[in-house]
């Protein structure tokens, strides 16, 4: 057992209101520069829809992620090392700017400097890459937001094409939800593996995947190899850039900007411990449906004394171990098993997981005039509403509807249980038992998912403490410290979640 720690995120899709605050704050912090106009480290897609870049899930086209060879080994989908190096002069799998969208701005000056006259001055759109005026803007960020233009756009969703055209895109007949996306900081990152210059790396301490800007040479192989299309090419600097998981904030114990500013309070951040020796095996299991359970099994329970001992032996500090024990992410992924990985079939072992939305099911039940919190109705609907379930399964479990149904049942059970509580009735213990949890567990899950206190959502051990000790020495006094002899570290509040 080789224990490694990973900062991970879980997003509770039921609570995303599609406000794009996360995207905007992220962009203001990270990609409001020349060369990154079209880049959104965080973006929120409406599903069903094409996403950003358009049809990014179509790996037959972009060749992102890994594939399993017949001999059971993993190979990048774009081919072996020699093959990819031979296509380095022009990457056949690289999305073009049009697949994202051509960034533009307006000629605002013509508004303020127009001479007085009878005609209303207009500001024309100008391309930010070519500098030429654009006659019609035909695609942009979130062009198909809230199923806008769905009859035309949504059938091009690769998942819709897999599930089949049975999904109807008529008002009141379609289901819809939002999918916020950031880099997955994968355990088996395809981007890092495809980088010819070795500029991309995974940090050993927290698993954050970064691009060393001084070492990147602009071979742009990572861009196409990331199946989630979360590495972007800065066309002004000639370097790849990607979501940094806001590491300067995490190192100080603060949540990422997208999480901190999330209006729906639907993001969770915490530590996951995993067995590095099992990563390769988990990513290479034969049946795609086994990828989710295999990754689940590669995670380690920090409350297990043997794991804790092995973690200490691997150099994981007590602060991190403590955070791992209180990790909300661990609880959602492992304890309650309500979070699922995004597209496990790409075999990168992603580390941003999602609690699937129950709302398409609840809405459908409510639309038929029934009670959306009735256990029988909800469970029945999960069984009969094949389309949303199959669609979610294509998204989160490589098409295995069983796991999605199990999660949705737990969510439904929580809903029904809490309604009884709120009405002062005694909850039916059979409901909790039916999803193999206890009533107390359902209530704990409710506190985490629905009440979602700030200190419960983010449990972030800082790197700064360890750094300060490394820099100052264990007992070096901080020059601004009050008590002599005792180091006063940066103003870091202790991680806040009650011990679990």
């Amino acid at each position: 057992m080789r224990v490694m720690a990973q900062m991970a995120m879980v997003m509770n899709l039921d609570k995303c209101i599609g406000c794009h605050t996360c995207s905007v704050t992220c962009k203001q912090v990270w990609t409001n520069r020349q060369g990154t106009e079209y880049v959104w480290f965080n973006n929120v897609e409406t599903l069903p829809g094409q996403g950003y870049p358009r049809r990014w899930e179509d790996q037959e086209r972009w060749k992102g992620g890994w594939e399993r060879t017949r001999s059971g080994r993993l190979r990048l989908k774009a081919g072996g090392r020699a093959k990819r190096l031979s296509t380095i002069f022009a990457n056949p799998d690289l999305p073009a700017l049009d697949d994202y969208y051509e960034p533009w701005t307006y000629d605002y000056k013509s508004l303020t400097e127009a001479p007085a006259g009878d005609d209303l001055p207009v500001a024309r759109p100008y391309s930010q890459t070519s500098g030429e005026p654009m006659d019609t803007v035909t695609w942009g960020p979130n062009w198909d937001d809230n199923l806008g233009g769905a009859p035309e756009n949504a059938p091009k969703d690769p998942l819709v094409q897999k599930v089949g055209e049975r999904i109807r895109f008529e008002f009141e007949q379609s289901f819809m939800f939002y999918l916020p996306r950031v880099c997955e900081h994968c355990l088996n990152p395809a981007c890092v593996s495809a980088c010819p210059s070795g500029a991309m790396y995974k940090r050993a301490e927290d698993g954050i995947v970064l691009v060393d800007q001084d070492r990147c040479r602009g071979w742009r192989m990572c861009v196409s190899s990331c199946p989630y299309k979360k590495v972007y090419f800065n066309h002004a600097t000639g370097k790849a850039e990607k979501c940094t998981f806001c590491f300067p904030r995490l190192e100080l114990g603060m949540p990422t900007v997208c999480a901190e500013t999330c209006v729906g309070r639907m993001r969770y951040l915490g530590v996951m411990l995993y067995d590095a020796d099992r990563v390769a095996e988990a990513a290479a299991v034969e049946d795609e449906h086994d990828l989710y359970p295999a990754q689940l099994e590669a995670f380690l329970d920090p409350r297990d004394p043997a794991v804790a001992a092995a973690a200490r032996a691997s150099g994981i500090t007590e602060e991190w171990l403590d955070a791992a024990r209180r990790s909300p992410v661990f609880d959602l992924i492992r304890t309650y098993q309500v979070a699922l990985p995004l597209h496990p079939e790409y075999r990168t072992l992603p580390m941003v997981w999602y609690v699937p939305p129950l709302s398409p099911v609840v809405d459908a039940v409510a639309a038929t005039g029934h009670d959306g919190e009735d256990a029988g109705k909800l469970f029945g609907a999960i069984d009969t509403l094949r389309i949303p379930v199959e669609y979610l399964a294509e998204l989160l479990t490589a098409g295995d509807t069983y796991a999605v149904e199990a999660v949705l049942r737990r969510m439904a059970a929580m809903r029904v249980h809490m309604r009884a509580r709120n009405l002062g009735e005694a909850p039916d213990p059979g409901i909790a038992a039916a999803v193999r949890l206890t009533g107390d567990e359902l209530e704990e899950m409710f506190r985490l998912l629905a009440v979602a206190k700030y200190e419960d959502r983010y449990v972030i051990p800082s790197a700064a403490r360890a750094d300060a000790e490394a820099l100052l020495g264990e007992d070096a006094a901080c020059p601004v410290g009050e008590k002599p002899g005792k180091p006063t570290l940066l103003n870091l509040s202790p991680t806040r979640r009650r011990s679990a």
């Binding site: 022009a90 995974k202 940090r203 071979w219 066309h235 370097k239 790197a463 490394a470």
Partner: protein
């Protein structure tokens, strides 16, 4: 004059190349990139770039063979002059024409596609000029030479011998005095191109990712707070204005 051009200049070029490469490696790693423009335009690039690069690879190999391998060696293994030149000119012509066609497509694209033109570097104009100049002069010299317009000049007894004498630090510059003009110009453009390598996008050729073939897929690195605390301020993302 001959001494300056063929006896001193080569060493000046070498010093500028090495000094520039060291300077970039130490102080401007951030600036080293292919500055790929594939995001803006892919169709022409996918033809032009491989054509140019593969052509160029053969051209470079051809130059190395032609300049470094003495005639006595090929004679010794029984390759006579005629066969040698037939081989050299035929493979050289294919590679040379491919490279020229490739760079033609690339330059056309750079001029015609607005986004690609805007993405160009300041050093690009000079670099493309010198590169194309050197390539066209090289082809001209070869054509003239094969057509017999340069008398019975054999570069393997002239330029190559001079080139190898450079490494012994006893440049045989007199040998270059009666080299045909086309070859002389080609060499001067070549000098300019080599000098430009570290100061233009051409630096990317020195960072060719050969080690990729031998390293494990996933790279792990540890933070080193000591190193981060002392990181000097170098060129990087633009400052906020």
């Amino acid at each position: 004059m001959d001494l300056l051009l063929w006896g001193v200049l080569p060493y000046v070029v070498l010093v500028l190349l090495v000094a520039g490469a060291i300077w970039r490696g130490r102080y401007d790693r951030y600036g080293i990139s292919t500055h790929s423009s594939q995001l803006h335009e892919s169709r022409m690039l996918r033809i032009g770039s491989p054509l140019f690069h593969f052509g160029m690879a053969f051209v470079v190999v051809g130059h190395v063979v032609g300049l470094l391998i003495p005639q006595s060696w090929t004679d010794a293994v029984g390759v006579d002059d005629h066969t040698y030149h037939l081989l050299a000119v035929s493979t050289g012509a294919v590679a040379g024409v491919a490279a020229v066609a490739g760079i033609g497509i690339l330059v056309y694209r750079r001029l015609k596609v607005p986004a690609v033109r805007r993405a160009g570097l300041r050093s690009d104009r000079l670099m493309y000029g010198v590169l194309i100049g050197a390539m066209l002069l090289g082809l001209t010299a070869t054509i003239l030479n094969s057509a017999g317009a340069t008398g019975d000049y054999d570069y393997r007894e002239g330029i190559s011998v001079w080139f190898r004498s450079l490494f012994a630090f006893r440049p045989d510059y007199a040998l270059m005095a009666d080299t045909p003009l086309a070859f002389q110009l080609h060499i001067l453009f070549g000098f300019a191109l080599i000098t430009l390598i570290p100061y233009s996008r051409l630096i990317h050729m020195f960072t060719a990712p050969v080690r990729y073939l031998f390293r494990p897929y996933v790279v792990y690195r540890r933070r080193d707070p000591r190193r981060q605390a002392q990181r000097p301020l170098r060129r990087g993302w633009e400052r906020v204005r």
